[in-house]
């Protein structure tokens, strides 16, 4: 019996929906009925998960390191907020416009980000996010500055479902949008296109040698990732009807990285799992004492990078693989 590596699996097998995946999404939908009092938190987790998925596309699949992904989240959040504040209250089209705005900023910044090596990328992404943060901070007549953007009103979704106090509509709306984007991302990374991204991550020189148009691939994935992040930001704005300045903060970019790392990169689900763990623990610990939370967050980060490099989902995948190998060896 030969050893089956994951890369030996045919493409078709990657694309098939596995039982675990179906259970995962059904379980999330079930939150609506099982925890009707925690729907606000659940929507926030889904939004953070989508944001982490957007990071996974560039970091996990294409290997682009960034410290400033909040830039695109923030642009989407402010785009949706400003639209709604100035009369465009229809949410779904608002999402599309926010995604376009973030994609545009992503496209423009891709010229800066994709030029240098890893260190330069870290600095450039950090700088772009800091620049936008300062911009939003200074332009307080438009953005509300540190007080945040108030007076955001969102119309009923599809003209039927109004946003309510318990977050029922918010949860349903978020879940549908996030799932739709997840399906797109899943199909995309499992396509030959997605495989070429992994080739670039693993060995850019060889990828170029086999004819992968390196730069064009990276630019596209960067733009798509920015658009996804923008949708996540817009969802946050629409479900909370408020935009805080910290949508653009360094802390948000750093937290995002941490969520994805906890869950595991290049797994698609890692972002969601990481976001859930992160936000549930944060919800518990930060209410006791925010300083302790920061301390344990830092400690967690150190421990994870030392010992659990592939995150929770990655670890589970390894365990499953070992189990299959053991069974195959018998």
């Amino acid at each position: 019996m030969s050893l089956l590596k994951r890369s030996d699996h045919p493409l078709a097998r990657r694309e098939r929906w596995k039982l675990g995946e179906i259970v995962f999404w059904v379980a999330i939908a079930a939150v609506y009925f099982v925890f009707p009092k925690s729907l606000v938190l659940a929507s926030q987790i889904l939004i953070a998960g989508l944001f982490a998925l957007s990071l996974d596309l560039i970091l996990g699949y294409a290997g682009i390191v960034t410290l400033g992904h909040a830039a695109y989240f923030g642009v989407g959040a402010y785009a949706a907020g400003l639209l709604a504040k100035h009369g465009w209250t229809e949410p779904v089209s608002g999402l599309f416009i926010a995604a376009l705005a973030s994609a545009l900023v992503g496209w423009l910044s891709s010229f800066l980000v994709l030029r240098g090596g890893d260190l330069a990328r870290l600095m450039t992404t950090l700088g772009i996010a800091a620049l936008l943060y300062e911009l939003a901070n200074r332009a307080s007549p438009i953005t509300g500055g540190v007080d945040g953007l108030q007076g955001v009103e969102i119309a009923k979704v599809l003209g039927v479902f109004g946003f309510d106090l318990y977050g029922r509509t918010a949860f349903g709306y978020t879940l549908v949008v996030v799932f739709a984007l997840f399906v797109v991302a899943r199909a995309w990374v499992n396509s030959p296109y997605g495989l070429s991204l992994r080739a670039i991550r693993e060995n850019p020189v060889r990828a170029r040698a086999v004819g992968v148009p390196l730069h064009r691939r990276l630019v596209t994935v960067y733009i798509v990732s920015a658009a996804f992040a923008g949708v996540a930001g817009a969802l946050l704005t629409q479900t909370t009807q408020f935009v805080a300045l910290d949508v653009l903060s360094f802390q948000r970019s750093a937290n995002l990285l941490i969520m994805l790392i906890i869950g595991g990169t290049a797994t698609l689900y890692g972002g969601f799992v990481g976001a859930a763990i992160f936000m549930l623990v944060q919800n518990q610990l930060a209410s006791i004492n925010p300083t302790y939370w920061l301390f344990y967050l830092g400690l967690l980060l150190i421990v994870i990078t030392l010992f659990l490099r592939r995150g929770v989902v990655g670890g589970l995948l390894i365990a499953r693989e070992r189990w299959f190998l053991k069974r195959a060896a018998r």
Binding site: R115, D118, L119, T124, L294, G298
Partner: protein, 306 residues
């Protein structure tokens, strides 16, 4: 964010006369010297090991808190506290290197970033817990208080002291790097690590010592900077961009490059804040992005085969 104006140089008038310009220039240079002191260790270690240490500001913070505590609680003179700050910074960097960093030299940049961001978080939390989140005050020795009139320009004695310290340390570092045997080992290891190791240089030892000196210098910079940069638990994260910018613009591993980059950045930041206060930190981020776009390998980087 950024440097505080030198006391007495608040903007009472907007005259663009020569003495004001010189004064702002001088403040910028003093500020740049601090940035240099803190960043030079980061520059050399990044050049040596290509280790992206975002937590470098933690060493500066250690020195700052050490000095502020020694000065305010035990009434120690700044001149006595500085060597202690150096030792504390060097000691902390040795401990971190031995326990954590050395496992990460061969890892990718992402792991290094995550580890060091984690260290920043832990350090920030500890600082809040021990010292509280307020700004730390510091007592300056009387010799360094007040102002000095140099050819019609009012200069703060303390900032003059900073410039002198910066020059002395630069000279010492350049001499140490260019004229001593240990300096030759560092240069060899920066240029070609593999060959240096093959020649019998213990690159890991060289790195440890360099790392400790860099951490110590950062601690001294942090201690001297309490008066100018301020000191609170968010110090390491707030000035992260500045330190990285100095290193990247100066070219990792180059002392003179780091000095020039730090001075440029210091003057640009101070004059930006003085003449166009409305846009604040905006200038620095814009400058960073433009510089990185134009010189992705640093202004003064030696082209080297990798």
């Amino acid at each position: 964010m950024g440097p505080r104006p030198s006391p007495g140089r608040q903007r009472t008038f907007r005259g663009h006369d020569v003495t004001t310009t010189l004064g702002v220039l001088f403040d910028g240079i003093a500020y740049g010297m601090l940035l240099f002191l803190i960043s030079v260790g980061l520059s050399v270690t990044m050049g040596l090991m290509r280790f992206i240490n975002l937590a470098h500001g933690v060493f500066a913070m250690t020195g700052g808190y050490m000095t502020a505590t020694l000065a305010s609680r035990y009434g120690l003179d700044l001149f006595v506290a500085l060597p202690i700050a150096f030792v504390s910074g060097a000691g902390l960097s040795l401990v971190l290197e031995a326990t954590l960093y050395r496992h990460f030299y061969r890892r990718g940049p992402l792991d290094q970033v995550l580890l060091t961001v984690g260290i920043i978080f832990v350090a920030t939390a500890i600082a809040i817990y021990v010292f509280g989140s307020q700004q730390q005050p510091i007592r300056i020795p009387e010799v360094l208080g007040g102002r000095l009139d140099v050819a019609g320009v009012e200069l703060s004695r303390y900032r003059l002291f900073l410039v002198v310290v910066g020059i002395v340390i630069t000279l010492a570092l350049v001499f140490g790097l260019e004229r001593t045997r240990f300096g030759a080992r560092i240069r060899a290891a920066v240029d070609q690590q593999t060959v240096a190791a093959a020649m019998g240089i213990r690159v890991d030892r060289v790195f440890q010592v360099t790392f400790a000196i860099g951490g110590g210098l950062a601690a001294v910079g942090g201690a001297l900077g309490v008066e100018v940069l301020g000191l609170d638990p968010n110090f390491a994260a707030r000035y992260l961009v500045y330190f990285l910018l100095v290193v990247v613009v100066g070219g990792p591993g180059s002392i003179v490059g780091t000095l020039i980059a730090a001075l440029l950045l210091g003057v640009a930041d101070v004059s930006g804040k003085y003449y166009v206060p409305g846009i604040g930190a905006f200038v620095i981020y814009l400058a960073m992005i433009v510089l990185l776009f134009l010189f992705p390998h640093g202004l003064f980087a030696k082209r080297r085969a990798r």
